[in-house]
């Protein structure tokens, strides 16, 4: 596990031109997803492919439809039009539980942790392991330790401390570990670094990379473009309920991303993909 740590993993066929989804079957595929709230059209036919083992960053301005889109995937509400394909199969996701059962875990901004419970208790909440009628504390602690070790979360003093005593980054890590423990194939993270300081942000970004390395598909929503470029393999720009640009992160840079977010087009980007991805990878 040391060799892969020196380079971004997994190997993405860099410089491939769109259309997306060339690198094997995407675990999640959205086709023509539309959602209206009354007269307001929140999503207007979204097409998106989310490949396993990669971090897909969903960016866009406020009101672009990012939250609506992930809530559609997470089963909070159903789309009005369009089709969701999960592992190649068309699925209807009509409740959060159905999403969880499929293997779609969402880490919301508020993390949904119980501050008064410890890390192990939070990670197993709702899925406790029991021996007979009693909770199998030793078994759960072992499992929690293994998951955290897999994710290389090494910064917690004891996994028996209440989550309320953890830092923001550590709480984020616990929320992610909870999703991983449920064998999620797709983890959606809503603004994972929004409330964090510099060092905590670095920890969380590293955690996201660990997730992808384990073969999990990750969707990250973020306003912070430097975080996005630090972590994402792919970028999808949402504007006014439509995907206006999507592709390997290396084909974007901050300026083109901002262009797409604000105006939906980019004069620079129009040339860049045509040139076969000549724009250098943005760190």
């Amino acid at each position: 596990m040391t060799a892969d740590s020196t380079r971004p993993a997994p190997e993405a066929p860099a410089g491939q031109a769109p259309p997306p989804g060339r690198e094997g079957e995407p675990i999640l595929r959205l086709r023509g997803i539309g959602k209206n709230f009354g007269a307001v059209q929140a999503l207007a036919g979204v097409d998106l492919d989310v490949p396993a083992g990669q971090v897909t960053a969903l960016v866009g301005d406020n009101g672009a439809g990012k939250s609506t889109l992930i809530k559609t995937i997470a089963g909070i509400w159903e789309p009005d039009t369009g089709q969701i394909f999960w592992k190649g199969q068309p699925v209807r996701i009509s409740s959060p539980k159905e999403a969880t059962d499929l293997g779609i875990a969402t880490v919301y901004q508020d993390l949904a942790l119980c501050d008064n419970l410890d890390i192990v208790q939070n990670m197993y909440l709702g899925h406790e392991v029991r021996r007979g009628w009693l909770l199998d504390e030793a078994g759960m602690e072992t499992g929690a330790r293994r998951t955290l070790a897999d994710l290389r979360v090494t910064t917690v003093r004891s996994i028996r401390q209440p989550v309320g005593s953890l830092s923001g980054g550590q709480r984020q890590a616990v929320a992610v570990a909870k999703a991983v423990r449920l064998q999620a194939g797709l983890v959606i993270m809503d603004e994972p670094t929004a409330a964090l300081g510099v060092s905590q942000t670095a920890l969380v970004l590293d955690l996201i990379r660990q997730l992808a390395r384990r073969g999990v598909a990750v969707i990250v929503i973020s306003h912070n473009l430097s975080d996005v470029f630090a972590v994402a393999d792919r970028l999808a720009v949402l504007r006014l309920g439509r995907i206006v640009a999507a592709g390997p992160a290396s084909e974007f840079d901050t300026q083109t991303a901002v262009d797409f977010i604000t105006s939906g087009t980019s004069s620079r980007a129009a040339q860049a993909p045509a040139g076969g991805g000549t724009s250098g990878p943005e760190g």
Binding site: M1, T2, S5, T6, P8, A9, P96, K97, T100, D110, A112, L113, C114, D115, N116, L117, Q121, L125, G126, H127, E128, R130, W133, L134, L135, A138, G139, E141, T142, R145, L148, A149, R152, V153, T154, T155, V156, R157, S158, I159, R160, Q161, G164, S165, L166, S167, G169, Q170, V198, S199, Q200, T201, A202, L203, L205, D206, R209, A230, V231, G283
Partner: protein, 452 residues
Amino acid sequence: MATQRRDAPGLGEAGVIAQPPGVARSGDDLTLAAAEADLLAAPELSGSLAEYARLWLKRVRGGESGMLPVLGGLVLLVVIFQVENSKFLSAGNLTNLLVQAAVFVLLGMAEVFVLLLGEIDLSVGYVAGIGGVIMGELTGYPLSLPWWVGILAGLAATTAIGLLQGTLVTRLHVPSFVVTLGGLLGWEGVMIWLVDRDGNATGGTIRITNDIIYDLVNGNLSPVAGWAALAVVVAAFAALAIMRDRRRRASGLAAPPAGLTIAKIIFVAVAGVALVTVCNLNRGVGLQPLSGIPWIVPIVLALLAGSTFLLGRTRFGRYVYAIGGNAEAARRAGINLSRVRIAAFALTGLLGGAAGIVYASQLGSISIDIPGGTYVLYAVAAAVIGGTSLFGGRGKMVHALLGGLVIAVIYNGMGLLGLGSAAQFMVTALVLVAAATVDALARRNRKTSRAA
């Protein structure tokens, strides 16, 4: 979190899992390395008894004082009363104190279930009254049903009341404060109505004629039986503690050092021996010898152990804490909030009913003059004095035991000093506010230390 130790003795015992690998990306190497060095784990449990003591001290200073304040307050009260009246620590008075504490402890335990959810039950005093009245009517003249029928019927009725109130709170979203405030009024009415129906109740009082029920509180175990019971309890406690440690070690997890476990077992044994010794002293007045542990002591301890087990070792208990901590997180985890909440209210009714039966047994009668309103406040006070939070998620059953003992000590000590209920109410109020203040200060301390 920024002030963690960087030297890490006994790495690998707990907490620390693996050395973090190099950083994958360019860009953040520096910050990430700094973050990891700063937060590099130090194990919480490194094995030695001294290490445990140090960590415990650190936690106390960090605001997690746990039960220390209430234990300190209890000792302080005992010392004050003993100085003022040397009879306070006599065998007769101590045994009496335990008996007096029983109702407060049971009511406090009942209240803990709903307090942990962030709810409250203001009706539990009169619900207790209904339990006592139903038990008294069924076992008294003319029905004279067996003692266990009376107890089961009383408990069933109060549990049903808890279910009803819990359903109103959960399904109809009426605040528990309002539902149970209605209960505080309504169940007193129902209780009076029940007693009025009973032609054999004189002056609103039903006498307890069943000897077994009377002896629940007023009867004693024989001295030998007391020692035998203690031996069983200590052996069971020791076996459970040792088995748990062994299982954790077998799973490769950190277990407390053997010294700590042995110390705990010795502590329980010593406390038990002290209790049994005091209760087995002859406390008879005049020629009539009287000794032995009152039955109510093991009964309350068994209910305490059962409730503690339910909260700490079962999924139901875990969900109660989760809902009290963050109901939305519990809901998203797929927990059926309504079921857990209704069950908690039902358990409050169950333990409240037990308190009412004990109350009737203690007095040898149950009357419509039961101070249900005062008792419900004592119930909340017992839980809060012990350290249970009113906002949910924090608290233990043992808090009700300690808080109930504090209230009983004040009640008993004030009586010994010949001070009336005026002084007793005021002192209880001071203790309650002091307990809440200590908790609030400790929490503020914890918040600031976390923010730093």
